[in-house]
């Protein structure tokens, strides 16, 4: 089985605001958090489009902050030791791939990335494309500070 990976040449897609575009890539920025975003939703689609918080960054790109609810996170822009390629699956037909992938800690990936198997006949093979390379990320590693918002 062969899964081709194309390289995206689409330069017409929207760009990030300049404050974020300057960090590494003009269309994608990576934000690293310790832990995960905990969303209190009853239904998975409830979160679509909802506001998470406010991301800011100073002009010198030294002090990014993220305000989520009453937590204020302070971070920094850090270089990623080995650049990361962002790969995106463009054909959304094969939705159950997420269940087929078996991932264990630091073991090799079973080759089920978007492959069509016997049972999935009728779904077109997903296409993967590389959107770009990212060499820097925003990382929030300090504990959040509680803030009180003036309403």
């Amino acid at each position: 089985m062969i899964i081709p990976i194309t390289i995206s040449t689409d330069s017409s897609s929207a760009k990030l605001p300049s404050g974020l575009a300057r960090i590494s890539h003009d269309e994608i920025v990576l934000v690293e958090l310790q832990g995960a975003l905990d969303v209190g939703d009853c239904h998975p689609t409830e979160r679509n489009g909802k506001l998470v918080g406010k991301l800011s960054i100073d002009d010198a790109m030294k002090k990014p902050t993220l305000l989520i609810g009453h937590h204020l996170l302070e971070g920094k822009v850090a270089a990623i030791p080995k650049p990361l390629a962002i790969m995106h699956r463009t054909n959304a037909a094969a939705k159950n791939i997420g269940d087929d992938m078996e991932v264990d800690d630091e073991t090799q990936l079973d080759d089920s990335i978007g492959g069509t198997r016997g049972g999935n006949d009728g779904q077109s093979a997903p296409e993967w494309t590389i959107l770009g390379l990212v060499k820097k990320k925003i990382i929030f590693s300090k504990r959040p500070m509680p803030v009180i918002k003036r309403s």
Binding site: M1, I2, I5, A36, R47, N48, G49, S56, I57, A85
Partner: protein, 382 residues
Amino acid sequence: MPDFDLHFSPFSTDEAASYKLIELPSELVGLLENAIQSSDPLGLVIKGDPTEDAVLCTRDKTYSIRTVNLSNTLLVVTPPPDTEFNFAEDAVVIRDQLNEILELAPAVPRISKLVGRLRGREYDETNEEDDEDEEVDSDGSSRYTYTQAREEIQASDAELDVCLKQKRILIIKDELRPISPSYLNNILELTLNVLVSESLSHSAASLDRLTSALAGDHGISRVVSAQVLAWFGEIQAGGKWKMNEDEVIKELGLGILREHKNDDPIEKGAFVAKWKLAVGDTFADRVSLNLLAGNYLEGRPVGRIEHEYLTYFPSSTLPTDPAARFADLFLTRTKWRVEDITPFLSDIAVNNKERDKLLLKYCRAISESGAVWYTARAQYNG
């Protein structure tokens, strides 16, 4: 300080798990950056069966893929996609939340599957008159094509071609046929004869005249002879073939050596003499056992200890899995010197550093009579 509203993407549930981050080794960074700049398609693919571990192939290299779990979460943030949703001017959206990245490491191409698939499909002099349109042979083994190999074998295209050349596999009407070793030897001997009889120089022989003579006088199909000559030399502009003397000499040596497996070793001097005879006077000086490294064992068998004897022991028949290979090697001999064991590791280690790591992992080094010897670590000895 400018601030940006951070939202979940309007298609957050659909987009979950549609992004993957791949950590790039340094050589791929440059390659990818150039490709993005110049819109070069680059030919990157991921290959593998559902039962195998995936590999990523460029046009000429293979990389294994491992998933590394992160304790932190990485958010992929982009400008909002086009929807009716009313986002503020400078809003950005989270498209995906990731806890793992894919790590690439250079890997040896996995071609053992190919050898298995081609069993029973050898080509020799009985096939010269073959009707090549038969799908299935009389003994039930079916055709395996070059196209199939490109899709199924976990190797880059360039590495697959090199492998076909090294393993002496012919491509006849897209089907892969390994050539029988004795038939190959025959063709090489005939080629050397033709070079002499037609007074052709071995560094610039007319390809046409060669293949015609082989076809006309000896019944060897041009499709076959052209490929064999390409394996053993360079086809230059103007239709001239420049022989790779060492490769030809090596193959003729192997032809003789193959007769002498474990039960019938040949005395070293006698072997070299026979070999020189086979290659002819022009090339006799280039005959050297170094050419056959990784294909023979030298030793003094019980009862014949006055001389060194050689036995045929090709690394191509050893297992590709390192643990199994070392087990086999130590079953054959309980201890090895570095220079004796390294030729049998060259096809399973990408480079010298990897090979040394394998030696460290699977062997114990001991110092004896002034030299370093490798022995098996206890658990791998059967």
